[in-house]
């Protein structure tokens, strides 16, 4: 029984790897007081470019770095608009996500024309070891290790360093932070770029870290779910990680249902929707009102 639960948990973490990485990256930005709904876009861009660069250069590391750079570039424009020009944070994110979707679709369409079905597999990171789940075999790779390291690391940076203190302060009361010599917009922007890089890395985990192909819109809302995990996790590193793992487990449940053809009410549709339903339920029943005080409020101060 114990090993079954352990296995269940492990599958949850494995299934949730990209989500976990992205949520860990995202929580930093939210903590600094900026609403980042562009996770989906940076993830998708990261997924595409890491795949594209890996396949064209034949080097998986180039792919990884290229993917992260693409995430930073997209986040840069997103952050520039929101943090420096105080544009509407929701609308800007919608635009960024649409750009990412359109861009990757178009580039992928062009790229597909040059490749044949057989040779569109990119190089990827090999699994460190594999877990046999009866009919499904899931590989454990470096991304998972990274995801797990990021949990305590993110917590440590936010809670135990002066950098984290600055991040928390600009998220709560940016004007006060400014009077203590902290450059509010710079802190927020750096957080934002970091999140862009990390969510692109999470995107890379989907392509070069897993299936080694790129499929249009393959992130399928994971960026928004990562955001939901952060809200559910009350904007803390550990809570967010918990949320991401719960979501991973619910994805695992879905897969079990599909693999073993368990019969549940609603059948296939319920199974597909399971993770989303669980997310929704978590959000409904999670405690509210814990966002940083200046969350999603642009900083109006005129220094920096």
């Amino acid at each position: 029984m114990l090993s079954a639960i352990l296995l269940f948990l492990l599958t949850g973490v494995i299934m949730g790897t990209p989500l976990l990485i992205m949520a860990m990256g995202g929580v930093v930005t939210e903590r600094s007081g900026t609403l980042n709904l562009g996770l989906e876009g940076t993830m998708l861009t990261g997924a595409f470019f890491s795949y594209y660069i890996a396949i064209t250069t034949g080097n998986v590391w180039y792919g990884l770095i290229g993917g992260m750079v693409s995430g930073i570039v997209l986040a840069f424009f997103h952050g520039l608009a929101m943090i420096y020009w105080n544009t509407n944070q929701v609308v800007t994110a919608v635009a960024i996500n649409m750009v990412a979707l359109g861009l990757t679709n178009t580039l992928m369409g062009n790229f597909s024309k040059t490749t044949s079905a057989g040779n569109n597999i990119s190089p990827g990171f090999d699994a460190l070891f594999k877990i046999n789940l009866g009919e499904a075999i899931i590989g454990v790779n470096w991304f998972l290790v990274l995801a797990i390291i990021m949990i305590p690391l993110t917590w440590f940076v936010i809670q135990k360093t002066t950098v984290g203190l600055a991040i928390r302060a600009v998220g709560e009361y940016p004007t006060a932070a400014a009077t203590m010599g902290i450059r509010v917009r710079r802190v927020r922007m750096l957080c934002f770029l970091y999140t862009g890089a990390i969510s692109a890395l999470a995107g890379a985990a989907l392509t070069i870290g897993d299936v080694r192909v790129f499929i249009n819109n393959m992130t399928a809302g994971k960026g928004f779910i990562a955001f939901a995990c952060i809200v559910f996790g009350r904007y803390t590193a550990l809570g967010t990680a918990f949320g991401a793992i719960v979501f991973g487990i619910s994805e695992a449940i879905r897969n079990y249902i599909q693999i073993f053809a368990w019969s549940i009410p609603g059948g296939y549709m319920t199974a597909i929707m399971m993770p989303y339903i669980i997310t929704l339920l978590l959000l409904i029943f999670s405690k509210k009102g814990v966002a940083p005080k200046s969350w999603a409020i642009p900083y109006e101060g005129d220094e920096d």
Partner: protein, 507 residues
């Protein structure tokens, strides 16, 4: 004595206004200098220039004999200038120690060594008798304690020139006494204090010298011992100011407004007003004093129908209400000068004329059968702007372009001009300068003499004392007692504000 700070011919010109025009003064070691002026006199601009937030257009600043250029806050801090802001610059979710170390490192690495900071904070706190616990979160601290954290923040950064911006605005009388003690300690240690204020008593009690600003210009520098409050007020306003109001006794016997056993709960179900009972007679001003956040807002909102009453009743004239709607309030002749003029009192994007007509708009003569009479709206606006001396270029100008004082005049004009029976005034002079304050207080007194019952809720004790017939002190939703203004002991009021109940009420 050594001069630690010297300002020479400083001017700060913004695109539309000259905020500081040729200001010169100096501050010596161990001295307290007050910068006295009305709102808009240029005090804040001057301080911001000294703190590196603004850059002077002209003129020089010397610190400890050296000419300096302050381009950022850090520059000012490095030179030993520390600022205690009127609105505390403290992150409520963080602890005292975290707020103190914010923006600095504790060692060579970014690792946050909180233990080290906590120790240092404790030491400083003990030295100045601040009684601070470095580990407590700001949100759990009282206003007075928060201010001590603000000061300690600056001391931790080795400030020896302390700038205080309207430091007593949020303090109880006891806390003010404590602050003054602290400041006197500082200067005895050889530090210097520059205090920005518009309160004359503060200047008289604390300052060695006073720099008076008027419309961005120097009205003069005087030694405290050579002046008195009346002279200072004259300098500050540029004319004679009414310092003492004549509070006439109450001539009527009937109650205009009575509250009986009223309880009000907020949306979390917490009791904000607890079983409160009182009455106000016609022609009486009842002042409600108290520290902000003790139920004042809820009391006003319940009386004006903006918040639901959970139990108890309100009696207006003879009519009893278990709950009341804002529209009914208007019909019953009750006026409301709200605490937050931007949120509750005005539609800032609408014109002055429109704001003046806001409440009566559904009635003749403003409208007939739902059609607005714009011609009347304009002429009404014009009369009001003239009568209430509202400074705006045109009644059609958007209200947001008016200064705070003039915005408040718009509300006062609208609320008072219809000759209300009852006036609920909450912080009616908050943020106003002496001139506008005098105007508003005078209007309230005029209305009272006309026979209106006035409930004046204010955190400024001075204001309450100036105009009220009786004074109630509110603490955590209850009245700690009601005192006749003739037998007031300020220290007793202060005790009541912090929760000491007075044994017997006076009628």
């Amino acid at each position: 004595m050594e001069t630690v700070l010297k300002v020479e011919n400083l001017s700060k010109i913004f695109p539309k206004v000259v905020a500081n025009d040729n200001i010169s003064f100096d501050l010596k070691k161990g001295e307290i200098v007050a910068i006295l002026g009305e709102n808009g006199a240029g005090k804040s601009t001057l301080m911001n220039c000294l703190y590196g937030i603004y850059h002077p257009t002209k003129g020089d600043i010397y610190i400890k004999g050296e000419k300096v250029k302050l381009t950022r806050i850090e520059d000012a801090e490095a030179l030993g200038i520390g600022m205690v802001h009127q609105h505390f610059m403290l992150v409520e979710e963080l602890t005292v120690a975290e707020n103190v170390i914010l923006g600095r490192r504790t060692g060579k690495t970014p690792y946050l060594d909180l233990k080290k900071v906590e120790k240092a904070v404790k030491k400083l706190s003990d030295r100045y008798n601040f009684g601070l616990d470095p580990k407590s979160k700001i949100k759990d601290l009282s206003v007075g304690t928060r201010q001590r954290v603000e000061i300690l923040k600056m001391l931790y950064r080795n400030a020896d020139i302390l700038i205080l911006d309207e430091a007593t605005a949020v303090l109880t009388p006891q806390e003010t006494v404590e602050l003054f003690k602290t400041l006197k300690n500082f200067v005895n240690e050889g530090k210097s204090v520059l205090m920005i204020t518009h309160k004359l008593e503060e200047v008289m009690e604390l300052a060695d010298r006073v720099v008076v600003l008027i419309d961005g210009k120097m009205a003069g520098t005087v030694n405290r011992i050579d002046t008195n409050p009346r002279k200072l007020a004259n300098m500050m306003v540029g004319r004679d100011v009414l310092m003492d109001f004549d509070i006439k006794p109450v001539f009527y016997d009937e109650f205009a407004l009575q509250v009986k056993n009223m309880t009000v709960k907020d949306k979390h179900g917490l009791e904000k007003i607890k079983n409160l009972s009182f009455g106000i007679k016609k022609g009486e001003i009842l002042g409600v004093a108290g520290v902000d956040g003790n139920g004042q807002a809820e009391l006003a909102e319940a009386l004006t129908g903006l918040m639901k009453i959970d139990s108890g009743e309100i009696v207006i004239g003879e009519e009893v209400f278990k709950h009341i709607k804002p529209k009914k309030i208007y019909e019953k002749g009750m006026s409301h000068i709200p605490q937050d003029r931007h949120e509750r009192g005005l539609v800032l994007d609408m014109s002055v004329n429109e704001n003046l007509a806001l409440e009566g708009i559904a009635h003749i003569p403003f409208s007939y059968k739902g059609i607005i009479d714009f011609k009347y709206l304009r002429s009404h606006g014009k009369t009001m702007v003239h009568d209430y001396n509202i400074k705006c270029y045109d009644g059609d100008c958007p209200t947001k372009e008016l200064s705070g004082g003039n915005q408040q005049k718009v509300i006062v004009a609208r609320e008072i001009d219809r000759k209300p029976e009852i006036i609920i005034a909450v912080q009616p002079t908050r943020g106003l300068d002496i001139g506008a304050t005098e105007f508003v207080r005078n209007k309230l007194l005029e209305e009272k003499e006309r026979g209106a019952a006035v409930l004046l809720i204010s955190t400024e004790l001075e204001e309450i004392l100036m105009v009220s017939n009786r004074i109630a002190v509110i603490h955590e939703g209850e009245f700690m007692g009601i005192i006749d203004n003739k037998n007031v002991d300020i220290l007793e009021l202060g005790l009541m504000m912090t929760g000491t109940r007075r044994d017997k009420d006076e009628e």
